[in-house]
Symmetry: none
Subunit: 209 residues, 4 copies
Amino acid sequence: MNKSTSKRKEREKEARREAILNAAARVFSRKSYHEATLDEIAAEAELAKGTLYNYYKDKQDIFFSLIDQGLRKSQQNFETMISMGGGLEDLLTRCFASSLEIVKDHKYLYRLMLTAGAHLNEKVQVEVMENWHNQSVLGAEKLSKAFASMPETSHLAPIERLIGANLVFSAIHSLHHRQMLERDTGNLQEDIKNYVRLIVRALTSEKTT
Amino acid sequence: MNKSTSKRKEREKEARREAILNAAARVFSRKSYHEATLDEIAAEAELAKGTLYNYYKDKQDIFFSLIDQGLRKSQQNFETMISMGGGLEDLLTRCFASSLEIVKDHKYLYRLMLTAGAHLNEKVQVEVMENWHNQSVLGAEKLSKAFASMPETSHLAPIERLIGANLVFSAIHSLHHRQMLERDTGNLQEDIKNYVRLIVRALTSEKTT
Amino acid sequence: MNKSTSKRKEREKEARREAILNAAARVFSRKSYHEATLDEIAAEAELAKGTLYNYYKDKQDIFFSLIDQGLRKSQQNFETMISMGGGLEDLLTRCFASSLEIVKDHKYLYRLMLTAGAHLNEKVQVEVMENWHNQSVLGAEKLSKAFASMPETSHLAPIERLIGANLVFSAIHSLHHRQMLERDTGNLQEDIKNYVRLIVRALTSEKTT
Amino acid sequence: MNKSTSKRKEREKEARREAILNAAARVFSRKSYHEATLDEIAAEAELAKGTLYNYYKDKQDIFFSLIDQGLRKSQQNFETMISMGGGLEDLLTRCFASSLEIVKDHKYLYRLMLTAGAHLNEKVQVEVMENWHNQSVLGAEKLSKAFASMPETSHLAPIERLIGANLVFSAIHSLHHRQMLERDTGNLQEDIKNYVRLIVRALTSEKTT
DNA sequence: AATGAATGAGCGTTCATTCAT
DNA sequence: GATGAATGAACGCTCATTCAT
């Protein structure tokens, strides 16, 4: 009566935390941090406002948890993509494609991250962006390592591999932006091909200097 | 009290608009949109709060004007850089350097743009980001044209020139981010060199596919 | 499950009521009525919050019970002091000393009584203070009776004995206040002596009017 | 246009501060600190809630100002009474009577002072009570000085004069309490006479020790 | 045009109380 | 009887906006 019961409780508690986060995600996808009210989040979660405080310390806590979750998912996705093997072109194409896939599914989240800081004092703001930045840096480092073990790019200097990886992430961010605005996404696939081609060329051509 | 008088009035009015905007810039450079209050902006402008409403419709109006101004300045800067001529490497190096220069001078502005949306409903938010994105797109198009008239890159397909220009802007944005966080800016110059080298290589090497 | 069982239950129930009250006493000794939360009291009593409601109607009920308990203890103490016999001076000295002893042990309780009203509507507030006042009145009456049976003061008019007893209680209250503030308690014993001397003189000297 | 205008503004501002304080007094006379809401105070003052914040920092500020005002008035009253001269009996009678007069006029204020602490953390609480206590101490000291310059009491040891003065204040406080409860105030005048007589006797009879 | 006092809607958070288990 | 998660009413405070002077 204790072990199984307490386990069930544990699970239910976690499920409710998740449910609140999902409700918050839906609200934050429509409204900015300041426009979104706890009343609305509670209503969306079909809970009383006070209940939110049984699961999260305050509004900011909900907000941060949401971003954290998003960053974690995003990072996991990158790692999967990188570890899937294949040639350089395949690898890059996969990174671009999967990244955009994520943004499509969590468009609001990307906006949240982009605009995370606007409502907080500079200290916390920088903290959030640092978190985000770190994810990129980590991602770039991992990608850079992948470059090191691929025949096409193993000859590059470490710094070149890293800068190349950064270029990949920069381009992806740029496409995120564009996708967020929901414009001319028709030739997106084509553009990805071109990005990949240019970056492949940058990384594999003979040195010119 | 006719032509010359009204002209003077016109000028004074414009000057005061400018003064308010400068005050707002100083306040927004310290605080986020929601943290910044009209009281503070008025105090910084050494005006009464009510006076602000003689020059701007509301708080949002001030905020938008500020971003507009920043984007215009930024764009002008790019155009100058592009029109200065010189070889491909010089051009790119200039673009990177001047862009970072701007961010250094108007770090708050970049943050404002980055976080512009966080306090507005999605519609207005997208509007702001569109504005920003358009500037990038326009910039990329101009850079792309510049590529077209340079011996090193004139042989590229238009789409490749455009994607290359986008890569430049993406990398710059990425550096902006990094600079905002004020981390490891020591080897920034070195990194710019590497970015430029890679992009030059991407644009000038023989095709490999 | 008959007599003895129900008696045991009875006792256990009473014991738990007492335990809750003790927990409340500890909490209220640190916090004001409004700052003290039922969560904290429950935690202090090592019970669930809901359990409190099996023993007390609501928060106010706990609070009142605590004050009642304190007043009863205080009164018992006075009665003991009065019934101990001895001369006038001894009696008064004992009253002062023991009263201060009580306050030292239950400083929070005195503060509770002093501030009892601040959180309740006037009606209930008056009720509490009346309770307290009554204790003083009763105490004064008892002391007054003691005066009547003492050789030094038996010659006084009843009203003078009562007023004299009131003076004693007033002075004690005043010392309570002072002790609560924890200031200059160094010469407290000396002051008590002086109070006693003055009051003895008031009660025993020849009439001057 | 400036001097007189700014003076008028000054006066109006002060008048409004006063009006708010009066409104607060009326509300606090009905409700405890926590029950009284700023909405109610604002309504009573016929002002918008926000306006209160143009004149007072927060709720506590209003509350403290009210107490301060009351203590100041009360102290001034005592000083007047003491400085009016006359014999010992007259002086004491005046002190009693005028003090009760004050309480009659500001009954709520006395309750406020009595219960001041109950809603604040201990630090502030002690601060308020200290303020109050200090007033009593100061009053007692002044009264003690008056004793020193009166023929009937100039022969007393300083400590006896001080304790005697304390007795007066203690008795007054006790009567305050009783008056607050609005009970048997019929024979109040009679009791005052008795208090005065006893204290006079304590202070003027031959030493018995 | 400039002022700044007045406004009042709006929101995050607390916590006594309830009730299903 | 015991539990503690859920509830939701309640309130202090902020600040963009208005408007009388």
